[in-house]
Symmetry: C2
Subunit: 405 residues, 2 copies
């Protein structure tokens, strides 16, 4: 891993500005811009109720010859806003295109916040003007952008990684935001990945699609799949590597780098879930199939009762077994083993269909750390998967009982 | 509806006693007994990790010639307890059979509480002795039994109804308990229905199976399908009606009565979910299929974000649309309508793809009542369904972060 975010790769600029969309005195609009045209790939929410920018971006990713900018607002999601909402989305893209001198279909739009309210379009357009004037290629600009896309997030999320292809340095950087309505199904709330790699459009989309299944689709904060989930990757080719057009070693290296950035961002989102006091990982090993491993691990980190037990540092392992049991995967409860882990510490809790004689005190100590892992050995095959969530705290309820006011 | 619970029907006795299974000074064991043999039907959890009494009861319902008693303990669930746990379950049935002078395979066993601990079998057997001595056919005895099966429930749940078949009065009564790990899939946590109707075993099971899909399977407190879910109905035939052996008018009348009792119990469980301050109903009308209506309504009442909005009395209708959108049912968001309702009050909130011009103040007033209903008109067909849950409060977290201590 290296420092930086969406401006880490060559040729990318960014900015984050205050536009007073919902609150004063906080950054709430961001831009990501490439000096040269990019190939774009994207994955979007599977929710039937799709936000206007999701409808817009899907078209752009599918049909535009290239993409060169993404503009984002927080505060209002522009979802459940009808034709008016779509018109505002288009106006945002038009204004951006005009100021940057690029085609309107080269502009992606992202929105996040309250569902059902219309955008204050004048403030959005004023925000776009600020963004167009402010964008630069510094690390500070990437940080500003990552900060500007936050809603209930408590920290901004960036990640970047570098590797070599044929003597040329390639960089992949990104930013994302949570922190509630996070149960991605096709991808996550908002994520923007930039890279200077040269790669064909088809393989860029393929790499993203493959990777999301093990990263953003394996996190959950509250089980609610958002109307706005959007993850896009922009590749501008400035690294100068021979263009990747087949699944060769170079492609594998890119996949690895993308996985590295996506995993880092996904874990940051899970650990910063609304009200979270801990990152709660579940790793399932020796499952019969990859699909089983994913289902089992996701089921545990999605369970309210498991999440509350983590919050209470309570080694109530029966809840973890229960969540495995309703995951939709068949197994013999007598055959599996369950461990509580943190860092290097690992503690066997359950084997042969019943609890082993473990120390409650030590178990509580493990469950009190800021990163808790439940390891489940299925003893059925060779597949494994990890999923990431967070604990369920009073603050989750507080944040969401009073979100709009 | 009439007064009473499991002793409302002729020939049934009950008791609830203190056995100090987990706490002193509270009723924690119950019995339901019929003076004559009963036909039994049951539905059980779909969780792969099944509690010992679930394994036991499944066998009894499937293979025993008749059933005459059910004995229940709270405090410990006897799940994830291996062979030892199953042996304790069998011992409980054996002791009950011996004291009541009935075959061991005429005894059902129910357990609820912490998963993973072994039963204190000596106290259980002492409790069975107390129960066998205490059982009577009074309404007070039914109330004691309903109280004794509570865990984190704040009120006990009973319901009964009477109707006539061929001049003979038939009674259906029941009791159930919640209040967490409630997301039934085949049926609910623990429910016992008694009736004096004469009906064939096949039709009794059929009636239960059909009815559960619209009652207990339509409630959720926290999305966690328990290891112990059990719902049984005992029919002893003492009403003296001509035995029901086909799906005729009499069968329909019984179905209606069973639905009445099950719906009442299911709603009581939802409204008394852990930490709940309100019963939260979602009714979906004009859906394309019954299955769609069920999925849509269940998705809304299961959503943490919708539940937190109800707790906050916040008319954040976008969350309800979002939960409809990820239910796995295809629809056009522009075509549906959404209303907030309470008692006779009904308020249109969303139509034609966007919010209507509603009063936030009035909406908040509706959402502040103890029974809140969200009505969704899909405008797609003739199917409808209702689902029941509760709000998500600080107390849910409190109860579950510290359940075992």
């Amino acid at each position: 891993m290296t420092e930086g975010g969406v401006t880490a790769a060559q040729g990318f600029e960014a900015a984050g500005v205050e536009a007073a969309i919902k609150y004063e005195n906080r950054k709430d609009m961001a831009i990501v811009y490439s000096r040269v045209p990019c190939r774009a790939a994207g994955v979007f929410t599977s929710n039937v109720v799709k936000a206007a920018p999701v409808l817009w971006d899907r078209e752009v990713v599918a049909h535009s010859p290239y993409v060169q900018a993404a503009v984002v607002n927080t505060g209002i999601a522009n979802a459940a806003t009808g034709r008016q909402g779509y018109a505002y989305c288009r106006q945002t893209a038009e204004k951006t295109a005009e100021l940057l001198g690029i085609p309107v279909d080269a502009v992606l739009v992202g929105s996040t916040g309250v569902i059902g309210n219309q955008l204050p379009i004048e403030r959005i357009l004023a925000g776009v003007e600020k963004l167009a004037a402010a964008k630069t290629d510094t690390a500070a600009a990437a940080s500003d952008a990552a900060e500007a896309i936050m809603t209930t997030d408590t920290v901004s999320k960036q990640a970047a990684v570098q590797f070599e292809i044929g003597g040329r340095t390639v960089t992949v950087g990104g930013m994302s935001k949570g922190a509630g309505m996070i149960h991605p199904n096709m991808c996550t709330m908002l994520g923007f990945i930039t890279t200077d790699i040269a790669i064909s459009r088809e393989l860029l989309q393929e790499a993203l699609r493959e990777d999301v299944a093990d990263t953003f689709n394996m996190i959950s904060v509250d089980g609610d799949t958002s109307t706005n989930d959007t993850l896009v990757v922009l590749a501008n080719g400035l690294a100068g590597n021979p263009e990747i057009t087949e699944k060769n070693e170079d492609y594998d290296r890119f996949r690895q780098a993308l996985n590295c950035v996506n995993t880092a961002l996904a874990k940051k989102m899970a650990g910063d879930g609304e009200g979270a006091t801990a990152l709660f990982e579940t790793k399932v090993i020796h499952a019969a199939t990859k699909q089983d491993a994913r289902r089992l691990s996701r089921s545990v980190i999605s369970s309210n009762l498991c999440k509350a037990a983590i919050y209470g540092h309570d080694a109530n392992f029966g809840r973890f077994l229960c969540a495995l049991g309703y995951a939709g995967v068949d197994f013999d409860p007598e055959k599996i083993e369950l461990y509580f882990e943190s860092g290097e510490k690992s503690m066997l809790i359950y084997r042969d269909g019943a609890a082993v004689d473990y120390s409650e005190e030590e178990a509580t100590a493990i469950l009190s750390s800021p990163e808790v892992r439940v390891l489940v050995d299925m003893h059925m095959g060779d597949a494994e998967a990890a999923a990431w969530g967070c604990d369920l705290s009073y603050d989750y309820v507080k944040i969401n009982a009073d979100y709009r006011s």
